[in-house]
Amino acid sequence: MVNRKVECPSCFFEWTSSDDIMEGEVITCPDCGVDLEVVAISEKELKLEKMDSSDEDWGE
Protein backbone atom coordinates (compact mmCIF):
# COMPACT_ATOMS: atom_id res chain seq x y z
CA MET A 1 0.00 0.00 0.00
CA VAL A 2 1.33 3.40 -1.00
CA ASN A 3 0.21 6.37 1.03
CA ARG A 4 0.91 9.59 -0.77
CA LYS A 5 0.87 13.03 0.74
CA VAL A 6 -1.62 15.38 -0.85
CA GLU A 7 -1.89 19.14 -0.43
CA CYS A 8 -4.80 21.13 -1.79
CA PRO A 9 -3.39 23.94 -3.99
CA SER A 10 -6.41 26.04 -3.08
CA CYS A 11 -6.65 25.86 0.74
CA PHE A 12 -3.39 24.00 1.53
CA PHE A 13 -5.20 21.32 3.53
CA GLU A 14 -3.10 18.16 3.74
CA TRP A 15 -4.30 14.57 3.64
CA THR A 16 -3.24 11.11 2.51
CA SER A 17 -4.58 9.72 -0.74
CA SER A 18 -5.98 6.26 -1.39
CA ASP A 19 -3.46 3.91 -2.98
CA ASP A 20 -5.37 3.25 -6.22
CA ILE A 21 -5.47 6.87 -7.38
CA MET A 22 -4.86 7.38 -11.11
CA GLU A 23 -3.30 10.16 -13.14
CA GLY A 24 -6.07 12.24 -14.68
CA GLU A 25 -8.49 11.44 -11.86
CA VAL A 26 -10.60 14.21 -10.40
CA ILE A 27 -10.70 14.30 -6.61
CA THR A 28 -12.38 16.69 -4.21
CA CYS A 29 -10.50 18.42 -1.41
CA PRO A 30 -12.03 17.03 1.81
CA ASP A 31 -11.65 20.44 3.46
CA CYS A 32 -12.63 23.17 0.98
CA GLY A 33 -14.50 20.96 -1.52
CA VAL A 34 -12.74 22.26 -4.64
CA ASP A 35 -12.35 19.79 -7.54
CA LEU A 36 -8.74 18.89 -8.23
CA GLU A 37 -7.18 16.95 -11.08
CA VAL A 38 -4.29 14.58 -10.43
CA VAL A 39 -1.70 15.78 -12.97
CA ALA A 40 1.30 13.72 -11.81
CA ILE A 41 1.96 10.85 -9.45
CA SER A 42 5.35 10.23 -7.89
CA GLU A 43 6.33 7.64 -5.32
CA LYS A 44 5.50 9.87 -2.37
CA GLU A 45 3.36 12.68 -3.69
CA LEU A 46 0.50 13.60 -5.92
CA LYS A 47 0.63 16.78 -7.94
CA LEU A 48 -2.79 18.39 -8.11
CA GLU A 49 -4.18 21.28 -10.08
CA LYS A 50 -7.43 23.07 -9.50
CA MET A 51 -9.81 21.85 -12.17
CA ASP A 52 -11.17 24.50 -14.48
CA SER A 53 -14.73 23.32 -14.94
CA SER A 54 -15.84 26.64 -16.38
CA ASP A 55 -15.60 25.52 -20.01
CA GLU A 56 -18.93 26.25 -21.60
CA ASP A 57 -19.41 22.81 -23.08
CA TRP A 58 -18.76 20.77 -19.96
CA GLY A 59 -21.80 18.96 -18.71
CA GLU A 60 -23.96 15.90 -18.98
Binding site: G24, M51, W58, G59
Partner: protein
Protein backbone atom coordinates in the same frame (compact mmCIF):
# COMPACT_ATOMS: atom_id res chain seq x y z
CA UNK B 1 -15.23 -8.38 -23.39
CA UNK B 2 -13.22 -5.19 -23.80
CA UNK B 3 -14.90 -1.93 -22.86
CA UNK B 4 -13.35 1.42 -23.72
CA UNK B 5 -14.26 4.50 -21.71
CA UNK B 6 -13.82 7.84 -23.48
CA UNK B 7 -12.86 10.55 -21.00
CA UNK B 8 -11.47 14.04 -20.56
CA UNK B 9 -10.54 13.35 -16.97
CA UNK B 10 -11.28 10.45 -14.66
CA UNK B 11 -14.48 11.72 -13.14
CA UNK B 12 -16.51 10.09 -10.37
CA UNK B 13 -18.51 8.23 -13.05
CA UNK B 14 -15.45 6.86 -14.88
CA UNK B 15 -13.87 5.81 -11.59
CA UNK B 16 -17.06 4.03 -10.46
CA UNK B 17 -17.30 2.18 -13.80
CA UNK B 18 -13.68 1.04 -13.43
CA UNK B 19 -14.33 -0.09 -9.83
CA UNK B 20 -17.59 -1.89 -10.75
CA UNK B 21 -15.90 -3.75 -13.61
CA UNK B 22 -13.11 -4.92 -11.29
CA UNK B 23 -15.57 -6.00 -8.60
CA UNK B 24 -18.42 -7.61 -10.58
CA UNK B 25 -17.08 -8.43 -14.05
CA UNK B 26 -13.54 -9.80 -13.69
CA UNK B 27 -13.54 -11.00 -17.32
CA UNK B 28 -14.15 -7.49 -18.61
CA UNK B 29 -11.11 -5.48 -19.58
CA UNK B 30 -11.51 -1.73 -19.22
CA UNK B 31 -9.38 0.60 -21.30
CA UNK B 32 -9.40 4.38 -20.85
CA UNK B 33 -9.25 6.62 -23.92
CA UNK B 34 -8.42 10.21 -23.01
CA UNK B 35 -9.72 12.38 -25.81
CA UNK B 36 -6.67 14.67 -25.47
CA UNK B 37 -4.66 11.71 -26.81
CA UNK B 38 -6.86 10.86 -29.81
CA UNK B 39 -5.56 11.49 -33.33
CA UNK B 40 -7.85 10.27 -36.13
CA UNK B 41 -7.42 10.04 -39.88
CA UNK B 42 -11.11 10.35 -40.70
CA UNK B 43 -10.45 9.75 -44.42
CA UNK B 44 -9.01 6.29 -43.77
CA UNK B 45 -11.33 3.38 -42.87
CA UNK B 46 -8.46 1.90 -40.89
CA UNK B 47 -7.53 5.19 -39.27
CA UNK B 48 -8.22 3.85 -35.80
CA UNK B 49 -7.82 0.26 -34.63
CA UNK B 50 -8.51 -1.22 -31.22
CA UNK B 51 -9.78 -4.51 -29.84
CA UNK B 52 -12.48 -2.69 -27.84
CA UNK B 53 -15.98 -4.22 -28.27
CA UNK B 54 -17.94 -1.20 -27.07
CA UNK B 55 -17.13 2.33 -25.95
CA UNK B 56 -18.81 4.12 -23.08
CA UNK B 57 -18.84 7.84 -23.80
CA UNK B 58 -17.96 9.65 -20.57
CA UNK B 59 -16.26 12.73 -21.98
CA UNK B 60 -17.31 15.68 -19.84
CA UNK B 61 -16.80 18.05 -22.79
CA UNK B 62 -20.03 17.73 -24.74
CA UNK B 63 -18.45 18.96 -27.98
CA UNK B 64 -15.79 16.30 -27.79
CA UNK B 65 -18.36 13.69 -26.76
CA UNK B 66 -20.46 14.43 -29.86
CA UNK B 67 -17.45 14.30 -32.18
CA UNK B 68 -15.69 11.29 -30.68
CA UNK B 69 -18.91 9.23 -30.68
CA UNK B 70 -19.39 10.21 -34.35
CA UNK B 71 -15.82 9.33 -35.36
CA UNK B 72 -15.71 6.02 -33.47
CA UNK B 73 -19.08 5.01 -34.98
CA UNK B 74 -17.73 5.96 -38.43
CA UNK B 75 -15.00 3.35 -37.91
CA UNK B 76 -17.70 0.80 -37.07
CA UNK B 77 -17.50 0.79 -33.27
CA UNK B 78 -20.51 0.75 -30.98
CA UNK B 79 -20.59 3.76 -28.67
CA UNK B 80 -22.97 4.41 -25.77
CA UNK B 81 -24.17 7.17 -25.84
CA UNK B 82 -24.31 7.28 -29.61
CA UNK B 83 -23.63 10.33 -31.74
CA UNK B 84 -27.34 10.49 -32.62
CA UNK B 85 -28.35 10.67 -28.95
CA UNK B 86 -25.70 13.23 -28.06
CA UNK B 87 -26.36 15.42 -31.11
CA UNK B 88 -30.04 15.58 -30.14
CA UNK B 89 -29.61 16.06 -26.41
CA UNK B 90 -26.72 18.53 -26.39
CA UNK B 91 -28.92 21.11 -28.14
CA UNK B 92 -32.03 21.99 -26.15
CA UNK B 93 -33.83 23.36 -29.22
CA UNK B 94 -33.31 20.10 -31.13
CA UNK B 95 -34.12 17.99 -28.07
CA UNK B 96 -37.38 19.81 -27.34
CA UNK B 97 -38.40 19.43 -31.00
CA UNK B 98 -37.78 15.68 -30.84
CA UNK B 99 -39.85 15.45 -27.65
CA UNK B 100 -42.67 17.38 -29.32
CA UNK B 101 -42.57 15.26 -32.50
CA UNK B 102 -42.93 12.19 -30.32
CA UNK B 103 -45.83 13.70 -28.39
CA UNK B 104 -43.96 13.82 -25.08
CA UNK B 105 -45.52 16.46 -22.80
CA UNK B 106 -43.04 19.28 -22.29
CA UNK B 107 -43.37 22.88 -21.05
CA UNK B 108 -44.36 25.40 -23.72
CA UNK B 109 -41.13 26.61 -25.32
CA UNK B 110 -40.45 29.45 -27.75
CA UNK B 111 -37.37 30.34 -29.76
CA UNK B 112 -36.34 33.82 -30.91
CA UNK B 113 -33.21 35.24 -32.50
CA UNK B 114 -33.36 38.91 -31.57
CA UNK B 115 -33.93 40.78 -28.33
CA UNK B 116 -37.14 42.32 -29.69
CA UNK B 117 -38.74 39.05 -30.80
CA UNK B 118 -37.57 37.44 -27.56
CA UNK B 119 -39.48 40.09 -25.57
CA UNK B 120 -42.54 39.37 -27.74
CA UNK B 121 -42.17 35.65 -27.05
CA UNK B 122 -41.80 36.28 -23.31
CA UNK B 123 -45.03 38.33 -23.37
CA UNK B 124 -46.75 35.45 -25.19
CA UNK B 125 -45.57 33.00 -22.53
CA UNK B 126 -46.29 35.31 -19.58
CA UNK B 127 -43.99 35.93 -16.61
CA UNK B 128 -42.14 34.22 -15.09
CA UNK B 129 -40.24 32.72 -18.02
CA UNK B 130 -37.13 30.55 -17.97
CA UNK B 131 -34.32 31.44 -20.39
CA UNK B 132 -31.71 28.81 -21.17
CA UNK B 133 -28.75 28.63 -23.52
CA UNK B 134 -29.41 26.04 -26.25
CA UNK B 135 -26.16 24.32 -25.30
CA UNK B 136 -24.99 23.95 -21.76
CA UNK B 137 -25.44 22.02 -18.61
CA UNK B 138 -25.48 22.19 -14.83
CA UNK B 139 -27.84 25.17 -14.90
CA UNK B 140 -25.24 27.51 -16.40
CA UNK B 141 -26.79 30.78 -17.64
CA UNK B 142 -30.30 29.55 -16.86
CA UNK B 143 -32.34 32.43 -15.48
CA UNK B 144 -35.89 33.06 -14.31
CA UNK B 145 -37.24 36.24 -15.90
CA UNK B 146 -39.85 37.83 -13.67
CA UNK B 147 -40.35 41.27 -15.23
CA UNK B 148 -39.73 43.23 -18.42
CA UNK B 149 -36.85 45.07 -16.74
CA UNK B 150 -35.18 41.83 -15.79
CA UNK B 151 -35.80 40.25 -19.20
CA UNK B 152 -34.30 43.25 -20.98
CA UNK B 153 -31.20 43.20 -18.77
CA UNK B 154 -30.63 39.45 -19.21
CA UNK B 155 -31.16 39.60 -22.99
CA UNK B 156 -28.70 42.51 -23.25
CA UNK B 157 -26.20 40.49 -21.23
CA UNK B 158 -26.62 37.56 -23.62
CA UNK B 159 -26.03 39.83 -26.61
CA UNK B 160 -22.74 40.96 -25.07
CA UNK B 161 -21.49 37.44 -24.39
CA UNK B 162 -20.16 37.13 -27.93
CA UNK B 163 -20.99 33.49 -28.61
CA UNK B 164 -23.59 33.23 -31.38
CA UNK B 165 -25.36 30.44 -29.48
CA UNK B 166 -26.17 32.85 -26.64
CA UNK B 167 -28.25 34.87 -29.12
CA UNK B 168 -30.54 31.92 -29.80
CA UNK B 169 -33.13 32.59 -27.15
CA UNK B 170 -34.69 29.42 -25.74
CA UNK B 171 -37.62 30.59 -23.62
CA UNK B 172 -39.76 28.25 -21.59
CA UNK B 173 -42.84 28.41 -19.41
CA UNK B 174 -41.90 28.36 -15.74
CA UNK B 175 -43.35 25.24 -14.14
CA UNK B 176 -44.38 25.87 -10.56
CA UNK B 177 -42.71 22.97 -8.81
CA UNK B 178 -44.70 21.32 -6.06
CA UNK B 179 -43.52 19.40 -3.09
CA UNK B 180 -41.35 19.67 -0.08
CA UNK B 181 -39.65 17.08 2.02
CA UNK B 182 -40.72 16.41 5.59
CA UNK B 183 -37.66 18.23 6.94
CA UNK B 184 -38.35 21.22 4.78
CA UNK B 185 -42.00 21.18 5.77
CA UNK B 186 -40.98 21.32 9.41
CA UNK B 187 -38.69 24.23 8.63
CA UNK B 188 -41.71 25.95 7.12
CA UNK B 189 -39.99 26.55 3.80
CA UNK B 190 -41.49 25.99 0.39
CA UNK B 191 -38.88 24.25 -1.67
CA UNK B 192 -39.62 23.25 -5.23
CA UNK B 193 -38.42 20.02 -6.72
CA UNK B 194 -38.07 18.18 -9.98
CA UNK B 195 -37.41 14.53 -10.81
CA UNK B 196 -34.41 12.90 -12.48
CA UNK B 197 -35.04 9.43 -13.91
CA UNK B 198 -31.98 7.40 -14.85
CA UNK B 199 -32.78 5.15 -17.81
CA UNK B 200 -30.65 2.17 -18.76
CA UNK B 201 -31.89 0.32 -21.85
CA UNK B 202 -35.61 -0.40 -21.50
CA UNK B 203 -35.77 0.29 -17.77
CA UNK B 204 -35.83 3.22 -15.41
CA UNK B 205 -32.98 2.02 -13.20
CA UNK B 206 -33.49 4.67 -10.56
CA UNK B 207 -35.15 8.01 -9.93
CA UNK B 208 -34.74 10.86 -7.46
CA UNK B 209 -36.32 14.11 -6.45
CA UNK B 210 -34.00 17.07 -6.72
CA UNK B 211 -34.89 19.94 -4.42
CA UNK B 212 -34.14 23.53 -5.27
CA UNK B 213 -30.87 25.05 -4.15
CA UNK B 214 -31.51 27.53 -1.29
CA UNK B 215 -32.23 31.02 -2.67
CA UNK B 216 -32.32 29.67 -6.22
CA UNK B 217 -34.99 28.21 -8.53
CA UNK B 218 -32.60 25.61 -9.99
CA UNK B 219 -32.24 22.13 -8.55
CA UNK B 220 -29.14 20.74 -10.27
CA UNK B 221 -27.24 18.44 -7.91
CA UNK B 222 -24.00 20.01 -9.20
CA UNK B 223 -25.26 23.36 -7.86
CA UNK B 224 -26.08 21.86 -4.47
CA UNK B 225 -29.65 20.69 -5.07
CA UNK B 226 -30.51 18.04 -2.47
CA UNK B 227 -31.41 14.61 -3.80
CA UNK B 228 -33.98 12.22 -2.35
CA UNK B 229 -35.08 8.80 -3.64
CA UNK B 230 -38.27 8.75 -5.75
CA UNK B 231 -40.54 5.72 -5.87
CA UNK B 232 -40.82 4.89 -9.59
CA UNK B 233 -44.45 5.04 -10.70
CA UNK B 234 -45.94 3.53 -13.90
CA UNK B 235 -46.58 7.09 -15.15
CA UNK B 236 -42.94 8.05 -14.68
CA UNK B 237 -41.70 4.84 -16.28
CA UNK B 238 -43.91 5.25 -19.32
CA UNK B 239 -43.04 8.87 -20.01
CA UNK B 240 -39.30 8.49 -19.26
CA UNK B 241 -38.97 5.51 -21.62
CA UNK B 242 -40.89 7.34 -24.36
CA UNK B 243 -38.62 10.37 -23.92
CA UNK B 244 -35.58 8.08 -24.13
CA UNK B 245 -36.82 6.66 -27.44
CA UNK B 246 -37.57 10.16 -28.73
CA UNK B 247 -33.87 11.05 -28.44
CA UNK B 248 -32.70 7.60 -29.64
CA UNK B 249 -31.25 7.13 -26.18
CA UNK B 250 -29.90 4.09 -24.40
CA UNK B 251 -28.42 5.42 -21.17
CA UNK B 252 -29.91 8.84 -20.41
CA UNK B 253 -31.09 11.06 -17.59
CA UNK B 254 -34.65 12.32 -18.03
CA UNK B 255 -35.60 15.47 -16.09
CA UNK B 256 -39.30 15.81 -15.30
CA UNK B 257 -41.58 18.12 -13.40
CA UNK B 258 -44.90 17.50 -11.72
CA UNK B 259 -47.84 19.57 -12.95
CA UNK B 260 -51.58 19.46 -12.33
CA UNK B 261 -51.93 17.67 -15.70
CA UNK B 262 -49.26 15.08 -14.86
CA UNK B 263 -45.55 14.77 -15.50
CA UNK B 264 -43.80 16.84 -18.16
CA UNK B 265 -40.32 16.22 -19.54
CA UNK B 266 -38.10 19.27 -19.27
CA UNK B 267 -34.99 17.77 -20.81
CA UNK B 268 -33.04 14.61 -21.52
CA UNK B 269 -29.34 14.36 -20.74
CA UNK B 270 -27.35 12.16 -23.11
CA UNK B 271 -24.38 11.52 -20.86
CA UNK B 272 -25.89 11.62 -17.37
CA UNK B 273 -23.82 11.84 -14.22
CA UNK B 274 -24.83 9.47 -11.46
CA UNK B 275 -23.15 10.51 -8.21
CA UNK B 276 -26.31 12.15 -6.82
CA UNK B 277 -28.67 9.35 -7.82
CA UNK B 278 -26.38 6.62 -6.44
CA UNK B 279 -26.08 8.38 -3.10
CA UNK B 280 -29.79 9.13 -2.79
CA UNK B 281 -31.21 5.80 -3.97
CA UNK B 282 -28.46 3.28 -3.26
CA UNK B 283 -28.92 1.77 -6.73
CA UNK B 284 -25.64 0.55 -8.18
CA UNK B 285 -25.77 2.49 -11.45
CA UNK B 286 -22.28 1.61 -12.80
CA UNK B 287 -22.96 -2.11 -12.30
CA UNK B 288 -26.31 -1.77 -14.12
CA UNK B 289 -24.65 0.16 -16.98
CA UNK B 290 -22.00 -2.52 -17.39
CA UNK B 291 -24.60 -5.33 -17.24
CA UNK B 292 -26.56 -3.56 -19.98
CA UNK B 293 -23.66 -2.95 -22.38
CA UNK B 294 -22.28 -6.47 -21.87
CA UNK B 295 -25.73 -7.97 -22.57
CA UNK B 296 -26.41 -5.83 -25.63
CA UNK B 297 -23.00 -5.84 -27.31
CA UNK B 298 -22.02 -8.53 -29.80
CA UNK B 299 -18.43 -9.66 -29.48
Amino acid sequence: MNIGIVINTITFEARELINAAAKYFPDVKIELFKNDDFKFDITDDNGFKTDVDVFLQRSISMTRAVYTSFILESYGYRVVSSHDTLAITEDKLVMTSHLKRNKIPTPRTMIAFTKETAIDAINDLGYPVIIKPVSGSWGRLVAKLESLNMATAVLEDREELGNVHHKIYYLQDYVHKPGRSVAQYIDGETVGRDIRAFVIGDEVASAMYRYEVPNDFRSNVTLGGRAEAYHITPELEEIALRATKAVKGEIVGVDLMETEKGLVVVEVNGSPQFQGIMKSTGINIPKRILEHVIRTTKR
